[in-house]
Symmetry: C2
Subunit: 393 residues, 2 copies
């Protein structure tokens, strides 16, 4: 084995969008959250980060190239991940001296997203999940996704939920060292494979406040936040796990919408106030409400068929089941058919639906969406990180 | 005395804008609030309702004409006010038989606002305060403003605060019959006469949800609202009374902004969510923050010089002290000089100020205001209702 042999491992990792939101750290250094959260892992056919981790004795220094641009990896968060992964590798090497000493080599990391960075989608979750997974594979670490989630969490809180597919909870934990603040699979993707997501990407406007800074301002100044953390979220976590287990879309939808609004309410109650939703976001909320109430009128019974949720930005993510694709995505396509994003395989199968019954009295919301949405992304629930032999370096 | 003698009384009544917000009724029929509130009465030179109450034995039926249009007065709220006022008059007539029997005559009420209805300013407060004050004068009722506030409250909750000038609190009370849910003067206008208000009227868009319906949806569905009612507002009421008594603008400003945001956070946490603030509102928030932080940098010490507050609509009301007129109103005039509202006596004395230091990096907010504000109103703290001999009928 030549001393300059290059070791490599590559992975794809998914984006996840929470339906019970993570907002607030009880320990900013360890990225320990004030409350548990729950998310849907989205399909990597549509949204994913592809990362190759490589090392050799001649690699000059640790580096990360994302979408062709050199990134600064000197930050404490990235360093914490690299340190933990190397430590695990070192243990392996100590117990089996025949193993190459990868833990002493510098790492070259190359990463690419298959979605536009400008879309304002939280790519850090997929990014850190891919980084941790790729290095763990390179080091052949015998760790479960939950064990890896503890490491990824230090890079970006929500990254811990991207190490698994399907429906994933991040338990806030109580240990001071964060050892019990990990993600676990509530249900795999195939348990409820019918779940779809339509992302309405709002026209690029600078983000109000970074979520890292914003959430700590909320912790420090919102008079309502304590109530969210102590009472609202614990109850909703249980109810949401049950909704997923029972494939109860009505409960899933109501809880998703309420929790998104509750999170943004706490942002607004922050001093100074944080606004992530804008007029376009509100139009999306109104359209979803109209779709749901039209469906209820038509079917004669209560039951939401779509659910909006908003992360720390104005983009709407609209969840719905495959059976209701025409009633939900079809209606949005009728309004937004000129926009980028409908041209793929998923988008092509959606028929534009112009439903007068739904859109009656919704002129302001319709115009607002036409004006404020720059592109759409159609996707659905998907699996966790996937190993690949396609290497980026 | 001829039997067809016409009895008349006329009054002007002011608008008030709360700095600790009223939102939620514990008894919708009696208009009893879930929390106390505090407002600034605005000058009647700029915003007022003028009402004449008249009656004669030949008046055919109770009627109210507002701005030339016949109004429906059969609603329970108006009827409750008329009933109580007539009962008080009847008591007088019973104890002094020489008094004309006005309580048995029908009432003709004619009302006019000196401000555009389209401005979306809560005119019901001034309207009901004027109605109650004019009839009380017509009936020569020996009632104090606080006693009248109990009657006006039944017409429109916030109307009870328009029966007094200056800084007015509405004590929520605890009695089931509402007898202790009344307004009182925290300080008269002359105590802190330097208070000014700049109202940024947002381009007409239909109001999201009426405040009457909206507040009860919040009571019923918001998981954060209880915290506001039980903890947040009681503390702030005390602090705000103190701020007014001590003429402490910094405290007044911080509490106003926080309470406005807290109220809108509870609206957003309502199911379905209620949005009153829009993108224009948010631009006003950012401008106020920029003015305050620029002032703090310049002066080298903490201290807000302006405070935004938003009622159930997108209009911003910006409070500031006369000494800071150029730094606050002048800056807004520099941005909004083409808009209606600067042409009066108050507006004429404001010099446009283009302060690069404040506006650096604020391009989005400046453009948003230019686009979204349709007119401005300049005013200040003012007195309570004023009797007048100018009759409208």
């Amino acid at each position: 084995m030549a001393s300059d042999e290059v070791y490599r491992a590559s992975t794809y990792a998914p984006v996840n969008i929470a339906v019970i939101k993570y907002w607030g750290k009880r320990d900013p250094k360890l990225n320990l959250p004030t409350n548990s959260s729950l998310s849907v892992t989205l399909s990597q056919d549509d949204l994913r980060t592809h990362t190759t981790a490589s090392c050799s004795s001649s690699t000059p220094h640790d580096s990360l190239i994302l979408n062709g641009h050199d990134q600064d990896i000197s930050g404490a968060r990235t360093q914490a991940c690299l340190h933990d992964l190397r430590q695990h590798r070192q243990q392996l090497e100590s117990s089996d001296p025949s193993l190459p000493k990868l833990s002493t080599m510098k790492l070259k990391l190359v990463s690419e997203n298959n979605f536009p960075t400008a879309a304002g989608l939280a790519s850090s979750a997929a990014g850190f999940a891919a980084l941790v997974r790729a290095i763990a594979d390179l080091y052949a670490l015998p760790l479960t996704p939950t064990q890896l989630s503890r490491i990824a969490r230090q890079g970006s809180g929500s990254a811990c939920r991207s190490l698994m597919g399907g429906y994933v909870a991040w338990e806030k934990g109580t240990a001071a060292d964060g050892s019990d603040s990990v993600a676990y699979e509530v249900a795999p993707a195939h348990h409820w494979l019918e779940m779809r997501a339509l992302i309405l990407v709002a026209s690029a406007a600078k983000k109000d406040v970074s979520s890292t800074a914003g959430m700590q301002q909320t912790v420090a100044s919102s008079s309502l936040f304590e109530k969210r953390v102590d009472e609202v979220v614990p109850k909703r976590m249980k109810a949401m796990e049950k909704a997923v287990q029972e494939r109860d879309f009505e409960a899933f939808a109501r809880l998703s919408m309420k929790d998104s609004n509750n999170f943004h309410a706490c942002c607004l109650d922050t001093d100074p106030p944080i606004f992530y939703m804008n007029d376009t976001s509100r139009c999306a909320v109104r359209l979803c409400e109209a779709i749901n109430s039209h469906h209820e009128t038509q079917s004669g019974k209560a039951g939401a068929i779509c659910a909006y949720t908003f992360d720390a930005g104005p983009n709407a993510v609209v969840y719905y089941l495959a059976d209701n694709e025409q009633a939900v995505a079809g209606l949005f396509k009728g309004i937004l058919q000129g926009k980028e994003g409908w041209e793929g395989k998923r988008g092509g199968s959606v028929k534009e639906k112009e439903d007068r019954g739904v859109l009656e009295g919704m002129e302001v919301a319709v115009e607002g969406l036409k004006k404020g949405v720059s592109r759409i992304i159609l996707t659905g629930v998907g699996d966790g990180p996937q190993k690949t032999e396609e290497h980026l370096c």
